[in-house]
Amino acid sequence: MQTLSDKRRGLLQPRPRTGKNDPGLGGRKIVRHPRCIWRYSLSESTTQFLSAWEDRPRRNLDLDVTSMKIDSRAAFVLTRADGLLTIAELCMVTGFGERETLKVVQQLIEMEALIVEEAEGERRMIRVTAERRPRISESQPVAVAAPFEGVDPADAAWLQRKGVAGFIPGTPGRLAGATKYGNFAFDTQALREDVEVTVEFRKDTLFLEAHLGKLDHFELFELEPTVDRKELRRAYFAFSKRFHPDTVFRRNVGSFGKRIETIFKHGTEVYEALVGDGDLREVYCRAVKARNRRWREKLEAQRANREEARRTELKKKAAGRKEALRARLARNSDRRTRQVQNSQMERRLGRAQRFYDEGIAHYENESWTSAFNSLQLAVTYDPKNSDYRAAFEIADEKLREVKAEQRWKRGYIQESLGNIKEALEAYIAAADAWPRSDYYAHIAELFLKYDEDLRQAADLAQKAVDAEPENVDYLQLLGRVYMRAKLKAKAVAVYEQIKKLEPKNADAKKALKALKRM
């Protein structure tokens, strides 16, 4: 008899972990298969620890067991949890595998039916992670269809009378595009059994055994629906070569012997029915094709719906994204322009500062024009800065003052030279620069003296009076101008004013008298 090679046997046998040999069940070591899964997807929460393998759960005696709504599995686990068995042992004692047991244990812990007592010493934590992300086919489960879905009713009725030989499930057992076994959960105990059969074959056997009632005949033989007897025969022969009990006659196959036989018997029954009955073959083929068509249509419809939904969603998302993008772009461009502006502004401010500094420097050096110019520029570049403005105004004033003085001096020189006209011009320019009242008064006198433009004189005198209303001299000057101009009323007003201010003013009195005579 051929036996597995030692290497293979070594892989199948679990490696015992040192230092963790609980006496447990009659001295048997608790071992874990080196390739077994440590993480169990039990709940939808993120990674958390259920407990440790070495912890011992015990029943919560305060809780009334009869009032709890638990299924038979949970009840069984509850009876076994007596505070002496560790969780690892519990998994072994119950017959339904580690994954299931841990699920149940967690459920019970959540219900507070179990209290877990932590073990001393080294504890290996049981990690509980989130469910793995479901595959597309899982997340969108296709509705289970009734048998003979999509098949012509007459055909369906005829086939139903044939029993097993005519059965067509509503959905194809192997979904198109899905992996070879779909979402089938394999019995891991069977997969790890110590038998002389390849793992691939075990998977096939387990899958077929579970799906004997869910596969149509052509799927069982991995064949396209056909009426051709030769094709069927070839497929059946290939099937026999895999699943006839004789092929594993000499080998130790454990539980798989029965499974293989069941599968073979079913396959033979189906094959003989098809091959022996031409009508059945025809009708069956037709029906299967019809069902496949319907199935494909359904899938297409579903896919189309999904596509539609996805497309609209995408559009919405795209629109939303576009908006966001636009907003972002707008924000960015503002920022950029602002940045740009800011940088320009910075330059301007910088310049303004420089000019200001220059202006101040010039001012201190008494270069009034330069100071004025600089400060003017400073103000231009930075209109908001009050310091600059203030400084500028001061500079402006000063300059005017200085200019006015210069012009007055010129005027004076001209007057002394006898060039009255030039003098007057200079005096007027000075008055414009710096409207001092005494300037106005002087100019007005000159006008009077030399009998020039009386109107201008009047204006200027008036300005002087306006500047200093209390000043009697100015008023007198204004009065004389009006008298010479023969503006009686105005003159009277003025003299009256003088009289008010200085009642004892002889000129005023004289003038008034003269005016009364006029």
């Binding site: 022969f237 070569k241 004789d246 006659f249 000499r250 036989e261 018997k265």
Partner: protein, 605 residues
């Protein structure tokens, strides 16, 4: 590496084959023959004889020589086949405790599986001689049309012989396997197997190393023996009675001689156009007159006598071809009777094609069995047999009718379930009568057993449901399991005794056989040593005179001669006594003496 053999257990001849380096090889027996007659006899001194020896002494020991035991295998005492055999065989057939047929040889009753086991034992010994190792596993062939009881009986025979019969396969399938092995063929073939006692026709589809039986038919009581019977009854006995008014059938010895002669004539007529059956002193009348039988026989006459038998086979062929529903590409002829020209001609007419000639009709079945044997134990053969059940399996229902559950020609292994329920109020057991056969009436079919399901809970009628699963395994043997649908538990079944051997009988038989083997083995050993001693003695006596002449003159020569004489006399007495140890020591002494003599001769001559 464990060896496994394939045995063709035939009605008239048996054959054994083994795989040798990937090729099946038929093994020859001690006499050098590839086939061994299936004849068992008990001689006057109580010795069991098998094979050629048994056949040769059949004439003188007719009443204690069993031939064609296969025709009684698995049959009920009252069946027509057994009755026919009762009338025609010289050996005594008696009723067994389980309504089966048994044979009485000398003063002991043997069951049929026991007889067959003796033959199987012989084949096993042939194989063990050849390989030099112990053989414990075998594949045994049966006619395809054998029913469940007959197959069970064959398996029992194997067990008594100390063989683990891994599989019972059908003879035509084995022949097809031997034909198609190692060839890459894709054809539908018909195997026409007309042997010594049975006829089978199988239609197979061979493709990709898979041999699928499409349909099978046959007659388990139609074979060469019947052809012989025709010659004997319808010609020889008749003619002789007409001539001499004596019924030769009364005399066992005469009958046996007739049988041998008829068989010989039949075989001759396959090549010659006519022959003569000559049996002097066939019987003696009341007085001292001895009568002779002299009968010419032509091929035409033989064909006339046996045409209806051949027609029967052709009829079955036609029906089977119809059941298969496929076009036949080739026809294979298996079994000694297919050498007859009439048979070949009729087969050609029926199928419309020239039958294949590439196989040895006597050996091909054993070769196939050998191939299947190896295929079961190793994966490397790449052949797979998909055989069918030859008879419909069903139950007896109201009105004595037969309701089919698993139809004929269903590929095995197969299973079928049926739900039974009670017919009366508070019925606590249900009886299921399982039968195998083709007739619509249950009485005409073969009863396999009555299965009684007990322990049903008392309930109104129809309330309790039991699911009964009928299972036919790859050997073609039926088993029944029942499940109570109320609680899903396995239901208890009691089986009334089927025809054949009970377990205790089996055990005793197996034990006895073991003892017998041991005896046989030691007897063989004694024989061997005796032979050696005798041979040595002959040699010595041959050279003794010349040595005596040479040595006689010398003194020491005289001593030597005296010693030699002593050894010789001692050896002779030991041989007479049959004392193993004495013979062995004598052998050694004789050997030394011989060497010495040879040496002397060499030096001189």
């Amino acid at each position: 590496m464990e060896r496994i053999i394939g045995i063709d257990l035939g009605t008239t001849n048996s054959c054994v084959a083994i795989m040798e380096g990937g090729v099946p090889v038929v093994l020859s027996n001690k006499g050098g023959y590839k086939t061994t007659p299936s004849v068992v006899a008990v001689s006057e001194n109580g010795k069991r004889l098998v094979g050629h020896i048994a056949k040769r002494q059949a004439v003188t020991n007719a009443t204690n020589t069993v031939y064609a035991a296969k025709r009684l295998m698995g049959r009920r005492w009252g069946s027509p086949s057994v009755r026919t055999m009762l009338e025609t065989t010289p050996f005594t057939i008696v009723e067994g405790p389980n309504q089966d047929a048994r044979v009485k040889l000398r003063d002991r009753v043997y069951s049929i599986p026991e007889i067959s086991s003796i033959i199987l034992q012989e084949m096993r010994l042939i194989a063990e001689e050849y390989t030099g190792e112990k053989i414990e596993k075998a594949v045994v062939t049966v006619p395809a049309y054998f029913n469940d009881a007959q197959r069970q009986a064959t398996k029992d025979a194997g067990r008594i012989a100390g063989l683990d019969v891994l599989r019972i396969i059908n003879e035509p399938t084995a022949a097809a396997l031997a034909y198609g092995f190692g060839k890459n063929i894709d054809r539908t073939i018909a195997v026409y197997d007309l042997g010594g006692g049975t006829f089978d026709i199988s239609i197979l589809r061979i493709a990709d190393g898979v041999f699928e039986v499409l349909a099978t038919g046959g007659d388990t009581f139609l074979g060469g023996e019947d052809f012989d019977g025709r010659i004997i009854m319808d010609l020889l006995v008749l003619e002789f009675a007409r001539a001499h008014q004596i019924d030769l059938r009364r005399d066992a010895m005469a009958l046996q001689r007739l049988r041998d002669a008829a068989e010989k004539a039949k075989c001759e007529l396959s090549s010659a156009r006519e022959t003569e059956i000559n049996l002097p002193f066939i019987i003696s009348t009341g007085g001292s007159e001895a009568l002779h039988l002299q009968q010419p026989l032509s091929r035409e006459k033989l064909e006339e006598l046996t045409i209806d038998l051949v027609e029967r086979t052709i009829k079955i062929c036609r029906k089977t071809v119809e059941d298969a529903g496929e076009e036949i590409d080739d026809v294979l002829l298996v079994g000694g009777m297919t050498r007859m020209p009439l048979v070949q001609q009729k087969v050609k007419e029926c199928f419309g094609i020239e039958p294949l000639r590439g196989v040895h009709p006597d050996e091909v079945v054993a070769l196939g069995a050998g191939i299947q044997a190896a295929a079961l134990l190793e994966d490397t053969q790449g052949v797979l047999l998909l055989d069918v059940t030859p008879h419909s399996l069903g139950i007896m229902i109201h009105g004595g009718l037969f309701s089919v559950l698993i139809p004929q020609n269903t590929t095995v292994p197969t299973a079928k379930s049926h739900i039974f329920t009670t017919v009366k109020e508070n019925q606590t057991q249900v009886k299921i009568i399982v039968m195998q056969g083709q007739s619509e009436r249950a009485a005409e079919n073969e009863l396999l057993g009555e299965f009684i399901l007990t322990g049903l809970r008392p309930a109104p009628k129809g309330a309790v449901e039991v699911e009964v699963t009928f299972d036919i395994n790859a050997d073609g043997i039926v088993s029944v399991q029942a499940k109570n649908l109320d609680n899903g538990q396995q239901q208890a079944i009691t089986v009334t005794a089927t025809s054949g051997l009970s377990d205790e009988e089996m055990q005793t038989m197996i034990q006895e056989n073991q003892d017998y083997l041991v005896d046989v083995r030691s007897a063989e050993e004694v024989e061997k040593t005796k032979l050696e001693a005798q041979r040595a003695l002959m040699e010595i006596e041959r050279v003794f005179p010349s040595v005596r002449d040479q040595l006689g003159g010398f003194d020491f020569g005289q001593d030597a001669i005296k010693k030699a004489e002593g050894v010789i006399s001692r050896a002779k007495s030991a041989i007479e006594a049959g004392d193993m140890s004495a013979i062995k020591s004598s052998n050694e002494a004789l050997g030394r003496t011989l060497n010495m003599f040879k040496g002397v001769l060499q030096r001189i001559g």
